[in-house]
């Protein structure tokens, strides 16, 4: 398996296990390779939109559906607290993990809290709505805003 694929998988697995973003050193240790190799792969993953990094170019801000920074959209399962990048990703995390838990967010207008129980088969009945202001073709113009 190419190192790029191994690195991408290791990043997502680390998020899935811990809820937080790994560093290149963490991934290198996990894969048994040297850190500079992983750092070079980091760049390719960023260019390929598999990850979004912070201003330092290294720390992972996004590895969809996981967020490396705190947000208002979360999922909690099996004692692990996950930050999602957006409302969609709050449901994307249980979909990716294939296990249930609790989504927490809020109404962007009223600030009313949303607490949504999710099983592996989907969320409990809810009449809440998801909305994207930005059309799909422009999501990556500014993915953090999106």
């Amino acid at each position: 398996m190419p190192l790029e694929t191994q690195t991408r998988t290791a990043i997502l697995e680390f998020f899935a296990e811990t809820g937080i973003a790994p560093t290149p050193a963490t991934v290198a240790e996990r894969l048994g390779v040297d850190v500079p190799s992983v750092q070079r792969t980091w760049v390719r993953l960023r260019e390929g939109r598999a990850i979004v990094t912070g201003e330092d170019g290294v720390s992972i801000r996004m590895a969809n559906p996981f967020s490396g920074v705190p947000t208002d959209h979360t999922f909690e399962s099996a004692g692990v607290h996950y930050y999602a990048n957006c409302a969609w990703d709050a449901l994307g995390i249980p979909a990716a993990l294939g296990r249930g838990g609790t989504v927490r967010s809020h109404c962007a207008n009223s600030e009313e809290p949303l607490r949504l129980k999710v099983t592996e088969n989907g969320p409990e009945p809810s009449d809440w709505l998801f909305h994207s202001l930005v059309p799909a073709v422009r999501w990556w113009d500014d993915i953090v805003f999106t």
Binding site: T5, P65, L91, A96, H106, P123, W128, L133, P135, V137
Partner: protein, 78 residues
Amino acid sequence: MLFFRSEDDLGAWCRDRGVKPGPAVPVPQLWRLSRGWYGNRLDPEAPRRTPGEARAIFAGVGLTGSFWDPVPRQEATP
């Protein structure tokens, strides 16, 4: 990408910002989209998704039209 508890809240939020609302997606439909989009995200063998495959996932859960098209039609590869 945000949650709203009702159409009224979505409308008020957009009016306050002077923006036109996009499509409102009910939670059950968002879940189906999430399953299609992220269901294999942890699978190392999952291939990189093409724009056509992304479009098909949206269409498969009833999200069609230009808003959900990841690539303008004239730029899309066959």
